[in-house]
């Protein structure tokens, strides 16, 4: 059963002078529990596709169906609620909040749900233990290594128990040892049933996933 269905997605960025086609008539179906890699050269539209699949951006044309729900016509508030419940994000540059400690960073998605402070705290401790950072809960992002920051970002993506995790080059800023650790974590999550779409430049990492699709100049070529 397809949990993500992108139909005829086109994304065009328009300025006064230029019109740039980032994605052209892309179709993609991702099955529930699948681990999919997206590969391609820089600027080919990988991240744009991931952003559209993650409801962070709107396509110029086409339909985005997540968990059998058509999302293109959704209003901002509905989209926010949907992202909060369904999706988790992991980014190359971590995007941790510098002025919050690890625990508060991880709690962040639950702030936008009806959950009590104690429930948020309990869940945050749980997922931080899971990613092996229970001893760093009171640290600030500036006091952590890159690998630790990415593990915090994964914990933050996990805390809301999303069905789908979208990872945009999650190992792009890490050395090979740390990359391995992060990938192991993602594989563990996938084994537990979480659907994962990962954008990567690393052929070896991509080959470990269940399916690889390739992009060139805004088109899916494989």
């Amino acid at each position: 059963m397809a949990i993500i269905s992108l139909e005829n997605i086109t994304k065009i960025y328009r300025t006064k002078e230029v019109e740039t086609v980032a994605l052209e008539n892309v179709n993609l179906e991702v099955q529930q529990g699948e681990f999919l890699s997206i590969m391609g050269p820089s600027g080919c539209g990988k991240s744009t596709l991931l952003n559209i699949a993650g409801l962070l951006d709107q396509p110029t044309e086409g339909r985005v169906i997540l968990d059998d729900i058509e999302t293109v016509a959704m209003r901002n508030g509905e989209l926010a609620r949907f992202r909060n419940r369904m999706l988790g994000f992991v980014f190359q540059s971590f995007h941790l909040v510098r002025s919050l400690n690890v625990l508060d960073n991880v709690e962040l998605p639950l702030l936008y749900r009806k959950s009590t402070a104690s429930e948020r705290r309990r869940r945050a401790v749980e997922v931080l233990t899971r990613v092996g950072l229970s001893h760093r809960m009171k640290h600030f992002p500036s006091q952590l290594s890159g690998g630790q920051c990415q593990r915090v970002a994964i914990a933050r993506a996990l805390i809301g128990a999303p069905k789908i995790i979208l990872a945009d080059e999650p190992t792009g800023n890490l050395d090979s040892h740390m990359s391995q650790e992060i990938m192991d974590l993602l594989f563990d999550l996938n084994k537990e049933g979480t659907t994962i779409i990962m954008v990567t430049h690393d052929e070896r990492l991509a080959q470990r996933t269940q399916r690889v699709i390739r992009f060139f100049d805004g088109r899916r070529i494989q």
């Binding site: 952003n51 993650g54 962070l56 951006d57 901002n76 508030g77 926010a80 609620r81 992202r83 909060n84 419940r85 994000f89 980014f91 540059s93 995007h95 909040v97 510098r98 002025s99 919050l100 508060d104 709690e107 962040l108 998605p109 702030l111 936008y112 749900r113 402070a117 600030f140 933050r156 809301g160």
Partner: protein, 420 residues
């Protein structure tokens, strides 16, 4: 949620000490300007000893008659004739107290001394001591019976007692007031020069003054409750009508009664319409002044807020990615900014006290050693005003930047971090 916002705001202040200091100081100076104006006005309007009933008092001191045939206008803005007070004002029923005072310059010579002093005396009735709560350090005020009998008794303020009698006990001693002997019956604790209605070097029953029936008086009408003001005002309007009907072709205008906050601003016009117009103009000027005092620093701080928020666009993007709605981001930013504004507000309030103390001669028209009562400085209205000023400044300085960043597309916000 707000606990985390609060923690984050404090952490950001700690992480960027220089920017935090500049931001807080900017806010503090803006609040200081506003609070100096507010506290100055509050000092003039607040109730404090001995004028503890300012909020329940109405004032009358203008008596203008206009002859509709000759078009001649006769006006006195400093007092109302005694006979009119007696026949028309004193019979009014609604006020709890009606007090008459008559300020006069006197020549004073204390017993056993050849020194002569020129002092301001306030001729009062006995109810004066009920309307104003003086603290007697010695003796007591003159009674209703003593007032009615025209007894020559005087109550001195401490400074006057010291000046006239040095270290001697003045009670029972006498002094000449305008060459007539008066007995000292009481001494009251020094009062602030800001208590302008009750202030004098000493107080005497006005019935002891020769020919007091020909004098003019200030009248204070004490309401049982502020809700009685309209009724009292109506009674005064009825008095004007009654006098006008009884004395054709004269038309009477008492230009009041005025509440304390209006009395302070009273420009001394002889007519109600002119006074009301002047008060409306003053109100408009005040609104304009406050708007400028709020908007000018708010515009400066708004640029500052926007540049700080731009540095946090990726955070806003990530919050929205994880489900924060626009209004939640807006509230978050305003809440965080409010913490900085409140810290700045508290500092600003202290700075405004400092400014008022240093500039009291100019701002309050009192001498450099004149005291300012604490109740007037530290009061609920003052704190409410600080909070309101902080809220408005916060809204003006952070509202538009917060709205702009909250509306930015998530992808654009997230890309800001990658651009750095």
């Amino acid at each position: 949620m707000y606990r985390i916002y609060f923690k984050q705001a404090l952490q950001m202040l700690k992480q960027n000490p220089f920017i935090s200091i500049i931001s807080i100081l900017g806010t503090a100076l803006a609040i200081m300007m506003i609070m100096t104006v507010i506290v100055t006005s509050e000092i003039q309007n607040a109730s404090f000893a001995p004028e503890v009933n300012r909020d329940r008092t109405l004032y009358l001191h203008t008596f203008t008659t206009w002859d509709t045939i000759t078009n001649i206008q006769n006006s006195n803005s400093t007092g109302i004739p005694y006979s009119f007070c007696k026949d028309y004002i004193l019979p009014i029923k609604t006020p709890e107290l009606i007090v008459e005072t008559d300020l006069c310059q006197t020549i004073v010579k204390p017993e056993g001394s050849n020194d002569i002093h020129l002092l301001e005396a306030l001729g009062t009735d006995a109810d004066f001591w009920e309307l104003y709560t003086f603290t007697f350090v010695q003796g007591k005020p003159y009674s209703q019976e003593e007032f009615e009998s025209g007894l020559r008794a005087a109550v001195l303020r401490e400074r006057t007692a010291r000046m006239l009698f040095k270290d001697e006990n003045p009670i029972g001693k006498s002094m000449e007031v305008n060459f007539l002997p008066y007995r000292i019956v009481g001494v009251v604790k020094e009062i602030s020069p800001l208590a302008k209605e009750s202030n004098a070097a000493f107080w005497i029953p006005y019935t002891s003054l020769p020919q007091y029936e020909n004098d003019i008086f200030r009248i204070m009408l004490l309401a049982r409750d502020k809700s009685d003001f309209p009724k009292i005002k109506q009674e005064i309007a009825d008095v004007e009508r009654k006098y006008t009907l009884a004395n054709p072709p004269l038309v009477l205008d008492l230009n009041g009664p005025l509440e304390h906050r209006h009395e302070v601003l009273n420009p001394g016009y002889p007519h109600k319409t002119k006074t009301e117009h002047a008060l409306r103009v003053h109100k408009r000027k005040t609104v304009l002044l406050f708007s400028l005092l709020l908007l000018v620093p708010a515009l400066n701080l708004s640029g500052f807020s926007l540049s700080r928020l731009r540095k946090r666009l990726d955070e806003i993007g990530i919050r929205k990615a994880f489900g924060a709605r626009r209004h939640v981001i807006l509230i978050h930013v305003l809440f965080e900014n409010l913490i900085t504004t409140l810290i700045g507000g508290a500092i600003g309030l202290l700075l405004s006290y400092l400014a008022i103390f240093s500039l009291r001669r100019w701002l309050l028209e009192i001498s450099a050693d004149g005291t300012i009562p604490g109740q007037a400085l530290v009061s609920f209205p003052v704190f409410l005003a600080v909070f309101a000023a902080c809220l408005l400044l916060n809204l003006f300085s952070a509202g538009i930047p917060a709205y702009r960043v909250a509306r930015m597309p998530i992808v654009d916000s997230l890309m800001q971090n990658d651009k750095k």
